[in-house]
């Protein structure tokens, strides 16, 4: 049985952050910090590197859950919110097409690979 709002849990020496998996839009890296942006446009900044975040996500996901995609060194996105990719402009829009819209950037090669991945899933 699957729970509707399974939570990702991140703990540091001083904090615990519990966020519903389907509310995580993207995670960005800034050196030793990572910021999780949520569907309510709120965010949490963690004293964890993006690689650590990625491993935590992999550990907590169900085996058939592959919604999160690491893009280069600085970004993890939830594929459910990918609304627009333009590799030439190095532009991607993450949106639920109702209440929020975030523009993020990545390398052309990575976005080209992501576009191909999305096209295969049509």
């Amino acid at each position: 049985m699957k729970f509707m709002s399974k939570r990702l849990v991140f703990t540091t020496s001083s904090e615990i952050i519990r966020v519903p998996t389907d509310a995580v839009v993207f995670v960005t890296a800034d050196g030793n910090y990572s910021t999780i942006t949520l569907a309510d446009s709120g965010n949490f900044t963690l004293t964890m590197q993006l690689g650590q975040i990625e491993r935590r996500i992999a550990d907590m996901l169900d085996e058939d859950d592959n919604r999160f995609i690491r893009i280069g060194k600085s970004l993890i996105v939830n594929r459910d919110f990918i609304a627009f990719i333009n590799p030439l402009r190095q532009k991607m829009i993450l949106s639920d097409c109702r209440t929020f819209r975030h523009e993020v950037s990545a390398s052309k090669e990575a976005l080209r690979a992501l576009k191909e991945l999305m096209e295969k899933e049509i």
């Binding site: 839009v25 900044t45 280069g72 949106s95």
Partner: protein
Amino acid sequence: MSHKHIDIDDDEIRVISATGDEPKKKSKHNFFPRVLIAALLIVGIAAAVIFSTKFASKPDDSALSEPVAPVTTDSVVPAKAFTTLRDTVANGTRLGILTPRNATPVLSVGNDVLNDTAAVLAVQAADVRGDNGMIAGTFVVNGNLVSKGEAKAGFCSIINGEITIGVADATPMLEQALADDGYFFRQYPLVVGSQMVENKPKGKAKRKALAEIDGEISVIFTHERVTFHDFSQSLIDAGVRNAIYLVGADSSGFYVDSSGVTTLFSPDNRNEWENINYIVWR
């Protein structure tokens, strides 16, 4: 968990899963076909350019224009508010210039704004007196007079979302703020009509200002500790026309950039002064 998750290049993507897939990387086998395609493209483009130069009566706009983005959700989703950050150096001082976009300014008393997810820029506005914990100078929130006094000649009024910065012991903008459910606070004047205003405090601190620059209202801050004089001069050199001071040093506040990432002004970011107040854009 395997450590193969750690390594990834900027041109790679990887589906995160419990099984730990390898990165999807460009194959070396694709090198020669890519070179061939690129060479054919170059030849084709060159031929097209020669042809259009010699024979075409007018240029082909479609070949010059940017591809049209297929997503146009702006009509459904309101323009997203965010804050831009531009760095510059003026008078030897490193300045950060924060300019809110698609957002409306108001004044707010209390630290609730620090949890306001709709806010994209919040900075402490008026000083709080150390002796009695009251706000220094006249302070109006939504047409209500919260504090009275004219200790500082600089003022900021917000009426119908429009900010006015000026210097005056008495100004009709106060009456208008009271009449039109507006906002008003007082601070040290720094720059008036691109001219410096000298202030008494001589110490050094990290400084912030509310400034009119390039026809826009921005919050400008220093990365280093500077005197009022040097701060005012750097603002003028940066092109500021009018500016008043904002609470500096380790004052609380934050801004949210176009990616939705929040940056705090100070590590703990929660000064617990009574009557702490903010100018906030949301």
